[in-house]
Amino acid sequence: MTVLAAERPTLVRPIPRLRIGLPIAAFVALVALARLWPTWHALTTAPGPVEAEAARFLLWELRLPRVLAGLAAGAAFGMAGALFQAVTRNPLAAPDLLGVTAGAQVGVLIGLTVPALAGFAGPPLLFVCGLGAASLALLAAGGWRAPPLRLLLAGGACALLLSAVLTVMLALFEQDIAGLALWSGGALYQPGADGLVEAACWLLPPLVALPFLVRGLDALALGDDAATGIGVAVLPVRFAGVITATALTAFAVALAGPIGFVGLIAPNLVRAAGIRRLTALIVLSALVGGGLLLAADGVVAGLGFSAGLSTAVATALVGTPLLLILVVRGQLLSPPDRTEAAASTRVASLAVVAPALGLALAALSAFGLAWGETWLAPARWVTAFAGGDNEAALILSIRGPRIAVAAIAGMMLAASGVVLQSVVRNALAGPELLGVTQGAALATLVGLLTWPLIGRPETFALALVGGLATLGLILLINRRRRFAPLPVALTGLAFSGLFAALTYAVIVETSAQPARALIWLVGGTYGRAWPDAVALLPWLLVSLPALALLSRPLDLLTLGEDAAAGLGLNVALLRALGLGLAAMLASAAVAIVGPLAFVGLLTPHLARLVGFHAHGDRLPVAMLLGALLTIGADILGRVALAPKEIPAGALTALIGAPYFLWLMSRGRRGTQ
């Protein structure tokens, strides 16, 4: 195309905007018509006035609003994704990754549990809560001047924090908000025609704001300095961009629930078709998003899954193959890699920090053994060990393995996160993001449901198979592209979305208590015994030498692919090895504790924030922090609301995320 253009000088490159836009629009229209056709047909061929009245009601009050709601919500998600990606200059940004979706979800929950606010439920409340989440992320990232990557990191932490809040609330008020569990899988709200018109009013302000924003946001792609140089008010534009995107997200969540996939995938699909300019990108993302959601809803309705297969699941089912095809065909152009630069000064040398953390770990473990409903003084441990104190022995046999499992799993997830972030060269990578965790969890869950009586080794094998199969698929798909970071991350995101949605669907289909099962999914150490710890330990021990061997090559990789290759590194091999090791660590941990969030994603950053950058230092520090965090969460979850148990997975985020956010804001002040 460039050659042609050079021969025939035209001013604007013949970007096939219409050639791409028209088929998309046609597709969307087709899907919408297909959804409406049966009802329309029923109306036109109705044998009598009663049937015609029923069909008319069905068409005008139920089916058409549902189609329009799907279109509008999908379009809003698509546009919000495109905006967030432009604001942060990261193609992996999306409303759910920035915490905005989770914030809006909290808004729904508040609307349900606080009767006084019931009148405000809907987009306004969701917008306020989503904006609260975005502000929290911004505040931690260091305000409007925060570089995009910091913003993404802080947003990720906020998202985890808020979903942890949601889980805890679910655990505590199970009966009151049982409906939310269903909703949180994402399903199209059916407000009827009036409700839809009312909701649509909330779509207007962001839509009106968009044209004023687009050109400034587009210029952000040049970099902040260049954009400032040509007269773009970078900070206000970013501010307005976030507000607008949040409003769009709030609207979409109010209509359709927290459907995460559309905002990420729609703009990337459009970009893969060669569209770069923001105006076209936003318009087409809206179309693609609406089409995706509508098609997914059609699949749900067409297959007759009324409640089980939610729209979110179907969206993932429809969207994943599309994204994967693009990755395989190599149509996703990578932006220039940017390594994260969370600059910070080292608090102390490793020789001080590591033993200190080790001591803290020992102290916390001892405290965890002692503290609980019954206080166990260390003196009783000895007698219990000697066989003289049966009560103490029993309590220790409950508390001991939980702490051991927490420590080992925390270390493994942290190590996995460090390796993944370096290999993928994206600070948002983590076992959760690559789909490894979700793959392992799905395999374990399906196994447990199919053969309720299987034992530990089989569970282990299932988790490993699930995690490694996910990784294998990712590697296979990206083999020809030498495991380049962005395609790997996108493939992983596609799988994680798909598997999480499927897991959720399995739970809803098979369990009478969706809330309970949802809590299982958060991960935890409840009821883990010594054999669990014994089973987990070898995996950690085996991986330690491998981690030590990989740490220097991983350091080289931070210089960039070319520089690392120039220094004699086999980059493709290192990536494959690193991914394999990380997947193994994460899968083994998931087999025992379930998909524990936060640890793998954010402990690597914690280690960096306290000043450890080289992998030889960062790995041990991150692992110790991971163990500390997980044990702390385990103890707190056990004791805080006894006899109710808060899942450790929720607490790791509840403890870790605020600390992380605080460190981020403090680190910024230190460097300026």
Partner: protein, 273 residues
């Protein structure tokens, strides 16, 4: 050197984390001239350039453009008055040369609406001035290094400003592209009267391009004047700490500075740590 002052910095002080990079620096750029900023790495050249462009927060002092304080100008006014070409520029994938240059019109356009005829004329004019007219529809990423640099200059020209600031525009280019760029800048200055301030590492380029050289060290301007007066062996030894030969260009008699490759004098204590 008696023309009007286009750009002026008064008692400029810039500090990064407590370290003063510029310390009460005074500088006045003559309108219609070409000024080269030279000096060793870390002497504050780029910081000074960014401060003059209003991109660098300054702790004390002020920048005035055409007699007006830069801080009081609105963002768009400033973009119409001066343009800065940064050292390393990100090139977003899938952008044509024309589209890149069109970004330069941002400060001239209303918030909504397409390019006006004036905009198009300005963009095409900028592309012609940089010799990129026939490359208008090409992808910026598909250009050679020299062409890409000129595409960024075209963007700055499309801003239609009177002052153009460039940070090491020739650093990544081969000799041919360096020469082309220097000639292009000279032509812009001569034919359009654009005031140019340029950070340069190559002293011979500075001598060929500029009518005035500012030699900086450790956040201060030590020498200021025409190239043949500033680029003397003594001054260069003082600033860079190496022995240099000073020759005359056989044709233009412009100064040529060649390192003697004699052992470096140890004077590191004079640099700020």
């Amino acid at each position: 050197m008696s023309g009007a002052i286009a750009l002026e910095g008064r008692t400029l002080t810039v500090a990064y984390g407590g370290r003063r990079v510029l310390d009460g620096l005074e500088v006045a750029i003559t309108a219609g001239g070409v000024t080269a900023l030279c000096g060793p790495n870390g002497c504050g050249k780029s910081t000074l350039l960014r401060a003059l462009a209003g991109l660098q927060p300054i702790q004390a002092g002020s920048v005035r453009i055409d007699g007006r304080a830069l801080g009081t100008l609105r963002r768009r006014e400033r973009a119409r008055a001066l343009a800065l070409l940064a050292q390393a520029n990100e090139v977003p994938a899938g952008l044509t040369v024309f589209e890149l240059a069109a970004y330069g019109r941002h400060a001239h356009r209303p918030l909504i609406g397409g390019l006006s005829t004036t905009d198009r004329t300005a963009i095409l004019d900028a592309l012609s001035a940089t010799g990129l007219r026939e490359h208008a529809a090409r992808d910026v990423t598909a250009l050679s290094g020299g062409e890409r640099q000129r595409a960024w200059i075209a963007m700055a020209l499309a801003q239609q400003c009177r002052v153009l600031l460039l940070d090491e525009p020739t650093t990544w280019l081969d000799v041919r592209h360096q020469v082309e760029l220097v000639l292009a800048l000279k032509a812009l200055n001569r034919e359009r009267g654009i005031t140019i301030v340029c950070v340069l590492h190559d002293l011979n380029q500075a001598a060929a391009l500029a009518d005035r050289v500012l030699l900086m060290q450790a956040g201060r301007i030590l020498h200021d004047g025409p190239p043949d007066q500033v680029l003397t062996p003594d001054n260069l030894a003082e600033v860079y700490g190496v022995e240099m030969w000073r020759l005359d260009h056989p044709e233009s008699a412009a100064p040529l500075c060649v390192p003697a490759f004699a052992p470096v004098r140890h004077r590191s204590h004079e640099f700020r740590s």
